[in-house]
Structure formats: C-alpha cells, structure tokens
Amino acid sequence: MKIILIIPAYNEQENILNTVNKIKNSRLNIDYIVINDGSKDNTEKILQENHLNHINLINNLGIGGAVQTGYKYAYENNYDIAIQFDGDGQHDVNYVEKICKPIIDEEVDMVIGSRYLDKSESEFQSTFMRRFGSSIISIFIRLCCKKKITDPTSGFRAVNKKVIKEFAKNYPTEYPEPESTVSLLVNNYNIKEIPVSMNARCGGKSSIELFKTVDYMVKVIFAIIVDSISFKIRRKQ
C-alpha cells in the first residue's frame, strides 16, 4: 500500500529538516512530499541542499492551496493513503500507523488525529481560547452535519484514495480543515477521530495568532453553515 505524508511548510527553516529527519528515521515505509508554500526564509535552500522531496510553490497560497497541491501530487502518483502532517514539529510520526489503520481496514474514508478526544493522550492541549474556538466550531459541525468532531481544526489527518481524488479536484482553500470535514460529511463519507498527542511548536510562528482566533472562529462558523447548505443543494441537484 502506497502511503504519503503531505507536509505543508511556510517559513519553517527552523523545523522542517528535523521533521523530515524524524520521518526518515522512523521504521515506517512511507513517502513524503514537502510543499514549500512560497517561504520567504531559507526553507527552500534547506530543502534543496538536503535533497528532500519537495515542491516549491511559486507564490504563497496559504495552507489550503499548499495541502491541495500535496493531494494533487498524491493523486497523480497513485498513492492509496495521504496523510497531512505539519512541518512545524507539532505532529508525532509515531501516530502515523495508528491514524492509517482504520483506512487500511477500509473502516472509514478519513481519520482525524484529535487532541481533545482523550485528554490524557496529549500533553499539549493548546491555549484556552483555541480550545474554546474548537469546541464552538465542533458544535456547529454537529448541528449542520449531525456528527461530533472534537478537533475540527486538527491538521493531522489521513484520507483514502477516494478522498485523495476528491481533494485533488476540490479542496477548500480558505478554512481548509473544518470546511473539508464538512464537505466530506455532507457527501456521506465516513470520518473517524482517534486520540493523538501533539507537541507545542518547536520554533517559528503559528499561522493562527491568538488575536485572530475570534475572527477565525466567526468566519469558520459562517463557512460551515454556507458550505453545509450549498453542498446539500449541490448533492440534491
């Protein structure tokens, strides 16, 4: 079974080499692709000097556009499972097997690694505001799609071949994690969450800053409502 890790990276000169080395040093037989999202720092130089498998986006597209490029790469190269994996060292490579298992067993179409499903599993639970934001988004997903997703903003997720094809064609680029979850739920794909541990960022700057949390939350909720309605209408048509 061909498995690939999609690693979006924007200004990750401090973390990217470490993240890829951890993947290489693990006993997992998986490929990886780093999507350098038009970084302004030395990320590109590091990727080239160390001969890491990567695609350089000629301009910054944001996390959604970068991840979709990864799905396109996975689709073109006929991968069976694609796993989104942050380039900032937040995600633990030891959970890759666990996150893939329900897909290998053909149990579900997408698996989300959740920080909040089992609190003892993850030491890093992020800030109160983000946890609060996540729970509000989660409530709205439950209202619109009738499915409980405890960590809708988690970027650690694995998908099967069917979803790779879907995401290669259509992937929300504005608020990718919650919106893509809603699009799959509305289209009757099966999603499962498994508890994972995440680390605090090793270095660099998070793309979602604290003061933006509320703004992000409001826009995401609006996007969830609009998406769930429009996807339902499109499905009926």
């Binding site: 990567h54 695609i55 350089n56 986006l57 000629i58 301009n59 597209l61 556009g65 979709q68 490029t69 396109k72 790469y73 073109e76 680029t173």
Partner: protein
C-alpha cells in the same frame, strides 16, 4: 433643469466619455464590462437631453423628487457592480491558485526529468 446643472452634467459627461474611450482604445476594459459603462453613459445623455423624462419616470415610480430616484438607482447599481467585482475576483483567485499549483508541479516534473537525463 437649471442651466448651471446642465453645464455641470455636460462637463461630467464629456469627462466620462473621455475616460471610457481611453479604456476602449487601450483595451483595458473587456467588451462585456463595457456594456455596463455604456448604459450609464446613455442614462446621463438622456437626462441631459430630455430632463422631463427623468422627472416623469420618478413620478411614475412614486418618488417625491427625481434626485431621490437617481440616488436610489445609483446605490443599487453600485451594489450590483461591487457584487459582480467580488464574483470576478473570486473566480480569478481560484484560477490563480490552480495556475500556481500546476506550474509548481510542472517545475518539479521538469527537475526530475533533468536529473534522470544527467
């Protein structure tokens, strides 16, 4: 219509036609967008030549003064235009994302092929 207002309208109409004609000459406006600006121009000419026409229509629609009708119709036209621009910008953004992705992936494929050739 007072003569001062007629002169002001005439001057703005000349400036308007001049600006639109520059855009047409330099092809900075596509034909389908030009239609909107031409309709505005025709409306301005009509108001200048037959001022009673505007008055009659505003009376017919129940406006107390023609200026109210002009203001309301201008606001709606601007809203329509902004909506259309938002739609066009979104479409262009999606095209940009697709182009950047495809071009970046092509560059990657060329790099691989060049390495294989060496």
């Amino acid at each position: 219509m007072p003569i001062q207002l007629k002169i002001a309208l005439l001057i703005s109409l000349i400036v308007y036609i001049f600006i639109v004609s520059i855009s047409v000459r330099h092809k900075t406006i596509r034909i389908n967008y030009l239609i909107f600006w031409c309709i505005i121009g025709i409306g301005m000419i009509t108001a200048l030549i037959i001022p009673d026409f505007v008055k009659k229509i505003s009376n017919l629609l129940g406006f107390k003064a023609p200026v109210n009708m002009l203001l309301v119709s201008s606001i709606f036209m601007i809203l329509f235009l902004i909506h259309d621009f938002t739609r066009i910008i979104t479409k262009e953004q999606n095209k940009n994302i697709l182009l950047i992705q495809e071009l970046s992936m092509l560059k990657k494929r060329i790099e691989i092929l060049e390495k294989e050739e060496k």
